[in-house]
Symmetry: C2
Subunit: 117 residues, 2 copies
Amino acid sequence: MEVSDAVTALAALAQDNRLDVFRLLVQAGPEGLPAGEVAAALDLAPNTLTFHFDKLRTAGLVTARREGRSIIYAARFETMNSLIAYLTENCCGGDAGACAPACTPKSVRTKRARVQA
Amino acid sequence: MEVSDAVTALAALAQDNRLDVFRLLVQAGPEGLPAGEVAAALDLAPNTLTFHFDKLRTAGLVTARREGRSIIYAARFETMNSLIAYLTENCCGGDAGACAPACTPKSVRTKRARVQA
DNA sequence: GCATTATTTCTATAATCGTCGAATTATGGA
DNA sequence: TCCATAATTCGACGATTATAGAAATAATGC
């Protein structure tokens, strides 16, 4: 992931409502949610929501597809992966392992020797 | 980590120069770097740099201490950890493991099917 | 075609952002 | 003390942001 891509993704997530939107979409899973449902869940005006969706889509964090009258937005986990990977690398840059522990989520175990640099 | 803290930290990193500053400080390690050295390395005006340091400090991502005439800024890995942990959790919220592969730094292989990046 | 629903586009606005020039504070050395 | 160095504070500026109201577009059913 490029620096500029990281900045774009970070900026997309650096706003209350957008972070809420993204978390909701992550929770919803790969099938996503219609824009209207997101609007209802988070109590956001439809045009405001479009504005935020645009930011997320530009950052590659969500996809949009039409389904009947609705437009379904879904989280793009790949991009989120790349972002976390980027942050992890840059966080651990000089002092490897400093951030590694935090990167072991819930049930998934890697329990491997961390990067040594 | 609270949602608002995450937003603050994300916003702090969501800017080219600030992300560069933070990466430089991470590279420099726990001892940190004098502001002037950062300014020289990234070719930033001292007052502009102060502005950015303030954002990073407010987000808890860096610390500042005076040493003679210089003020030494250092990355706070702890906060970065919390941020990555927060993102990892919220990224994998509905679909645990979806982001796990990305959290394995550099040379560590999981040899599990991984989400395409 | 017309009405309804779902979402976007357009226009406007207050607030915040990133940068700059100039002045100011703080420290150390002659 | 006076001077040079290091960083901050202040005031200003154009640019971007987040939101809102009104109108426009797209899809569906009658």
